[in-house]
């Protein structure tokens, strides 16, 4: 087998060195009843050519986003990633290294994580950021847990604009720890309701911007109300490109900002792997989950980086840790950092404006169609439309015409009573031809 270097001779000689008669004798601690005599009933080994063909066949049964007009968003956004990003993250030294526990021979990973943390802190407008979470949704759930630890309160209020999957992930995690999560009814704008819901038991409010419906929200007033009540404000962002244009969470008074970073450097990947961004005010850092790279010096006085503040973490603090997270999303964080290092502040701002411009063009194309009502007044690159038909059925009909028309709200939140609402998104990858094809086909479907 091509991945196994030992030859039969090696095995024989090594057994001799060990002083074992055969390989079975090394497994003698396994209860006899559980020792399998031979290979399990699964296919035998296969060459590269066969495996590649096999998987190519499966891949061919999916409609790639790039294979036609495409307007899906709702928490996962299609952006162009420069070829150099994917090349660099595949370098052996990044791809095949472990968590940087031995800093003297892991400065490549550590320095790039330090760069990542700084970039995330700047984007979110907060003081510190960690070295990544699994994704935006688990980062959000951890933020709720952290807020409960900080405030010693047990209730989180989630805006109705929060992505339903984020709400469910937070609920699932918080529930078992006895923390209640209250999601307000699905709404494009529920600032008043959120402020209303805050009380003395509130650990945090969780507000998303741009929210599920694409609506850009100024969180400032909510954050003020939360602060007044001794609660924290968690701002969620699922489209990291928006940081290039919109007010940062920190600017709006957030205590914790979490985001899905996959828009920058990572790609769609059918939902994973992604990369969770997690930032907070400096004062809260010791309650933060996840790894942190920090600056220090070596024995010769030269600057270097190490993993630090690990007394927060499971491998040191065990059941007193701030989280159980261990493996996180290092390589995606690296991809994020490289892509953002290429873009720079200037490039990200420009990219964000292009996204906004294309989404406006999409709106302008859809708004004139009979049976389409644009619901989101102020959006970044995504907005909700109400159709004169079932949104999920319309999406299926357009998929049959090779147009991926967006995400029906009913897929995410079947109870919201929004079966006729469709979320549509445009990015720099969306062309005018795509938009025209979509608008034309949609008009026909709805006619």
């Amino acid at each position: 087998m091509r991945y196994l270097p030992l030859t039969p001779d090696d095995r024989r000689d090594m057994l001799a060195v060990i002083g074992a008669t055969d390989i079975d004798s090394l497994f003698r601690d396994v209860p006899e009843s559980a020792r399998l005599a031979g290979p399990i009933d699964l296919p035998r080994h296969a060459g590269e050519l066969e495996v590649e063909r096999d998987l190519a066949r499966l891949a061919a049964r999916n409609r790639a986003a790039g294979a036609g007009p495409f307007f899906c968003g709702a928490g996962a956004y299609r952006h162009h990633v420069p070829a150099s990003v994917d090349h660099l993250i595949q370098r052996s030294e990044f791809l095949t290294s472990y968590t940087p526990y031995q800093p003297e021979i892991a400065q490549g990973t550590l320095q790039s994580l330090f760069e990542f943390q700084t970039q995330v802190a700047v984007l979110t407008g907060l003081s510190v950021a960690n070295a990544s979470m699994y994704d935006g949704s688990t980062a959000c759930a951890e933020a709720v847990m952290m807020a409960a630890r900080v405030t010693r309160r047990k209730r989180a209020i989630l805006s109705g604009g929060v992505h339903p999957h984020y709400d469910e992930a937070a609920h699932t995690l918080a529930h078992s720890a006895g923390i209640e999560t209250v999601r307000l009814p699905a709404a494009i704008d529920d600032e008043a309701a959120v402020i209303e819901a805050i009380d003395a038991d509130t650990a945090c409010v969780v507000v998303q911007t741009p929210n599920l419906f694409g609506a850009v929200t100024d969180v400032t007033r909510i954050a003020e109300a939360a602060r007044a009540a001794g609660a924290l404000t968690v701002v969620v962002t699922t489209e990291a490109v928006a940081f290039g244009l919109l007010k940062s969470p920190g600017e709006m008074g957030a205590d914790i900002a979490v985001a899905e970073g996959a828009s920058i450097g990572v790609g769609l990947n059918f939902g994973g792997p992604y990369v969770g961004l997690f930032a907070c005010r400096e004062a809260l850092v010791r309650q933060m989950p996840g790894r942190l790279a920090g600056e220090t010096v070596d024995a010769a006085g030269d600057r270097g980086f190490v993993l630090t503040l690990s007394t927060r973490e499971q491998h040191i603090r065990r059941d007193k840790a701030t989280s159980n997270i261990c493996t996180n999303s290092g390589l995606c964080a690296l991809a994020f950092t490289i892509h953002l290092s290429l873009l720079g502040g200037t490039g990200l701002a420009k990219l964000a404006r292009i996204n906004h411009a294309r989404a406006r063009r999409l709106r302008d194309a859809l708004i004139g169609i009979d049976g389409v009502e644009v619901l989101t007044p102020r959006f970044f690159n995504e907005f909700a439309v109400r159709l004169n038909a079932d949104a999920a059925e319309t999406v299926e009909a357009l998929a049959a015409r090779n147009i991926l028309a967006g995400v029906p709200v009913s897929r995410l939140d079947p109870g919201a009573g929004m079966d006729d609402v469709l979320l549509v998104c445009a990015t720099e990858t969306t062309t005018d031809d795509d938009i025209a094809a979509f608008a034309g086909a949609l008009a026909e479907e709805l006619a």
Binding site: M1, T109, T118, E168, A169, L404
Partner: protein
């Protein structure tokens, strides 16, 4: 070493033309942070000049420009290539971290994961347009359940610890469904930190179980602590001492008899894959680190994937989404209702780590059932070979009987040398090797835990053992300087971790500010 240097590049960097710039030597380049490369107005991405009015977003946009540097592509590529060369990697040499299963990462897996049909599909496309992706998930699930002999699997957890959480939440759901709100999870002392941390996160109190002199769960202690408030017993098998829990069937029996569930930490599945099915050991839930046993790359700390196989009793509590197969192909139950009404909830947005599923499946298909069995055998053979070659010079923590995939040593043999485990490990760097895991598991004093994996050749094992033996001789010869000062040949000398924690600098700040503190 003056503290004032922290926060600034180790060699002077200025913007004036004639000042000496940072440099390097031979093939090694010093490399500042991206924030020190002067790219404040640059970008390495060409974008069309295209904007729209921002009238819709009045009051909602950034007040100030984003202060993030950009680099032209040549500069960015060079920056990260230079940084990369300061890393050790499995592609460079053995990476003998215990309990980490650092094995070869096939490039085929990277290639197939990048097929547009996998990498460029959206998680919320109509399921009719992603039948291949769902079929792949189904096939992966089939391999995982067959290899473990378990009836069900939840694919979505994003790493091992997330899988542990998923398993404990399923256990909680099962107890709650019976109206039985248990509060405690039993965890052996030797457990990985994620086990107690996960139990606490899942709202359980953690009680430690002791260990016998031969490195296994102390059955007597287990019996004593198993009562009707115990929700689960969490055992790693093979455990983190590299030993198979001989009494695993009895542990399972006792656990079940107490109305508790048996959670198995499957991080070390590599030792037994293809030879032993955890389902035959009475396990109720076990996570599988695809980034260990099934070789998806560690990537300097993730991403990984931690699917959890579940027993019949727990299967109905698996988190959404559920993958179901019907006459019209595959579909997803994405909400905890209908057939999935007992689901424990949702572990994360979307459907988990698709990119890792593709890699892991390519890896499994490549090996096949026969190859995977050989994986376990070679992994165990390599570990025992290391134990045999080093056993004479170092002190084996549990000398009796074979080990499984990793060999555990303690620091008894270093007594009187004035050299600590840490020093010894750092000196290995000077010999061209990455250190073993140190000071874990906690049950062995000054532990050194070595896991070679099956993808090391005998030649590399010998190179490694020779280096360890050379160093051991030097240690016995009281060549203390060689150890205390190590490493001498790495890109940096030993780093001051205490300073980092005492005065955390967690991001770059402009020099103006840093001079203030």
């Amino acid at each position: 070493m003056s503290l004032a240097r922290v926060g600034r590049p180790s060699r002077a960097e200025t913007d004036t033309l004639q000042a000496p710039a940072a440099s390097g030597h031979g093939l090694v380049q010093d490399e500042p942070l991206i924030f020190e490369l002067g790219g404040w107005d640059k970008t390495g991405v060409d974008l069309p000049d295209e904007t729209a009015p921002l009238d819709d977003l009045k009051g909602l946009t950034r007040a100030e420009a984003l202060r993030l540097p950009g680099l032209s592509e040549p500069e960015a590529v060079r920056h990260y290539v230079r940084l990369s060369q300061k890393n050790h990697a499995i592609d460079l040499a053995i990476y003998p971290l215990g309990s980490c299963t650092m094995k070869h990462n096939p490039r085929l897996d990277e290639k197939v994961a990048r097929f547009a049909g996998f990498a460029d599909i959206h998680p919320l496309q109509p399921v009719s347009t992603v039948q291949g992706a769902l079929a792949l998930m189904n096939e992966l699930a089939c391999w995982l359940t067959t290899l473990t002999g378990m009836p069900a699997v939840a694919l979505s957890p994003k790493a091992g610890a997330h899988g542990e959480l998923c398993g404990l939440l399923a256990i909680r759901a099962a107890h709650e469904a019976k109206g039985d709100a248990r509060k405690t999870v039993l965890v052996p002392t030797s457990a990985h930190g994620t086990n107690p941390a996960t139990a606490a996160l899942a709202g359980y109190g953690v009680v430690e179980i002791g260990q016998t002199d031969d490195g296994r769960v102390d059955l007597a202690d287990l019996k004593a602590k198993l009562h009707d408030d115990v929700a689960a017993v969490m055992v790693t098998n093979p455990n983190t001492c590299g030993l198979f829990e001989r009494d695993v069937l009895e542990i399972a029996r006792l656990t079940h008899a107490a109305g508790a569930f048996f959670y198995c930490d499957g991080a070390n599945f590599n030792a037994i894959v293809g030879r032993v099915r955890p389902g035959d050991l009475g396990v109720d839930a076990m996570h599988i680190n695809l980034h260990k046993t099934f070789s998806t790359p560690h990537g300097g700390g993730g991403p990984g994937a931690g699917p959890v196989v579940l027993s019949q009793a727990l299967a109905k509590h698996a988190p959404t989404p559920w993958l179901v197969s019907g006459p019209e192909g595959f579909s997803l139950l994405e909400h905890a209702d209908g057939d999935a009404a007992a689901a424990l909830g949702r572990m994360c947005a979307f459907h988990g780590q698709m990119g890792m599923y593709v890699r892991a499946l390519a890896y499994m298909k490549s090996h096949g059932a026969d190859g995977l069995r050989q994986v376990a055998e070679d992994a165990v053979l390599n570990a025992n070979y290391i134990k045999a070659r080093l056993g004479g010079a170092l002190s084996v923590a549990y000398p009796e009987g074979p080990c499984m995939h990793e060999a555990l040593f303690d620091d008894a043999w270093l007594e009187d040398t004035g050299i600590a485990t840490l020093d010894f490990a750092k000196a290995l760097i000077d010999e061209g090797f990455h250190p073993m895991t140190m000071y874990f598991p906690l049950v062995a004093h000054g532990a050194m835990l070595i896991e070679p994996t099956e993808t090391e050749s005998r030649r590399e094992l010998d190179r490694f053992c020779d280096a360890v033996l050379r160093l051991a001789e030097a240690a016995r010869a009281h060549d203390v300087e060689r150890f205390k000062g190590a490493p001498f040949h790495a890109p940096l000398r030993r780093l001051d971790e205490t300073l980092a924690a005492r005065k955390p600098r967690l991001r770059w700040t402009p020099a103006e500010n840093s001079s203030a503190d």
